[in-house]
Amino acid sequence: MDADFLINILLPALWEGLLVTLKLIILSAPFGLLFGTLLAVGRVYGGFFVNLFCRFFVGFIKGCPLILLLFILYFGLPSVGIYLSALLASVIGFICCNSAYNSEYIRGAILSVKEGQMIAASALGMTRIQAIRHVVLPQAMRRAIPGLSNEFIYLIKYSSLAYMITLIELTGAGKLIFSKYFEPDVFIMIGIIYLALVTITTVGANALEKKLAIPGTQGR
């Protein structure tokens, strides 16, 4: 790999791909967190049917490979008249996957908040929903941060699967360059970018956990 190839061909293409990867993550992560929280609350506090639905959803998503889910959304749905762009199909797939795994961590964290907290909140006159929102979740979410940031890192890595449904993100951009110029070092370059992304995220997540910690509660 010479410098000319690197600067004029590879890096611009990877930059374009990186932007798509970041777009995928930015569009997916907030909804993954939101729906993950709702799924977790549904599983812990929901009635029979809500609980059943949430368990079924999480079970299906965790059992079905993400790549197959993306195929269903992009290649399968048109047969029932729903046409999604590759970007939208990827984002929906990532949100489903991310929220299902997030819900497992948040559910565990909710269950780790002592029951007395809920009783105390009710004694203060809070409704159930108020108690969940203002008492249980603020404590639970802090405990879930290590797991959630892990899932965020998975999201970064699994965003590469969008290439399988024709969306040219970081891995895809590199693969196209490889197919055109047959330069195997391309994949090393992509690897460096992913490692940088993941390492920065890990450092950021640790800092976030420290920043959000409430002195004296120690998280656990």
Partner: protein, 228 residues
């Protein structure tokens, strides 16, 4: 011909991919465990340089997407080594090496959870450090690690589908081949999803029984994670 008879006609072809998928998963789990346990021991008891090498390995394999690792090994590393190996071998190697990185962290946590007094007691009985690790620490640590380890199975099972990208003839590859042949999409994708979910469920049952089998009565650390 209606959709169901077409799906039924292709089902044997799809199911023959099950053996390939199981082969990938089994190979990956075995490679992962064989490398992961020594790596965990190295990270706990090893010298500083050894710890750094293992730490870098784990950082590398946990930081890269499976898809990129497959491309990297298939297009860059194996050709560089002048090795012409079948796709299945590439898939199993990638999933196994990556699994080793994850499994080493599960085993490491388990080893560190065994109280230090165990080592001290074993040493005071005259055991060498190596014997103590082999006969006292590992038998306990492996049992503590089992619940966490059992989560590796569904992860590797779903990741094995990504081997589609390099054309290993497993379930996902066969699914898209069938779709390309028949132009039927949804029923075939859902059939494939069902097979994966059944494999997941069956595997977890096997692991659950394995956990019960190796459990030592009165020794906690074998709480199984429930299925679904």
């Amino acid at each position: 011909m209606d959709v169901f008879s077409i799906v039924a006609e292709w089902l044997p072809y799809l199911l023959s991919g099950v053996m390939v998928t199981i082969g990938l998963v089994a190979a990956a789990l075995i490679i992962g465990a064989l490398l992961g346990l020594p790596m965990a021991l190295g990270q706990v008891y090893g010298t500083r340089p050894l710890k750094m090498v293992i730490g870098t390995y784990v950082w590398f394999f946990r930081g890269l997407p499976v898809l990129l690792l497959l491309f990297l090994f298939y297009f860059t590393i194996f050709p560089f080594l002048n090795l012409d190996v079948p796709e299945f071998f590439v898939g199993a190697t990638v999933l196994g090496l990556r699994g080793a990185a994850y499994q080493s962290q599960i085993f490491r946590g388990a080893i560190q959870s065994i109280s230090e007094g165990q080592m001290t007691a074993a040493r005071s009985l005259g055991m060498s450090r190596l014997t103590a690790i082999r006969s006292v620490i590992i038998p306990q640590a492996v049992r503590v690690a089992l619940p966490g380890w059992s989560n590796e199975y569904p992860n590797i099972l779903t990741d094995s589908a990504i081997c589609y990208a390099i054309g290993v003839a497993e379930l996902m590859t066969r699914t898209s081949q069938i779709v390309a042949q028949t132009y039927i999409t949804m029923p075939i994708y859902l059939a494939c999803a069902l097979v994966f979910i059944l494999l997941n469920y069956a595997g977890m049952r096997v692991i659950y029984h394995l956990e019960k089998r190796v459990a030592i009565p009165g020794f906690s650390g074998n709480t199984s994670s429930g299925v679904l």
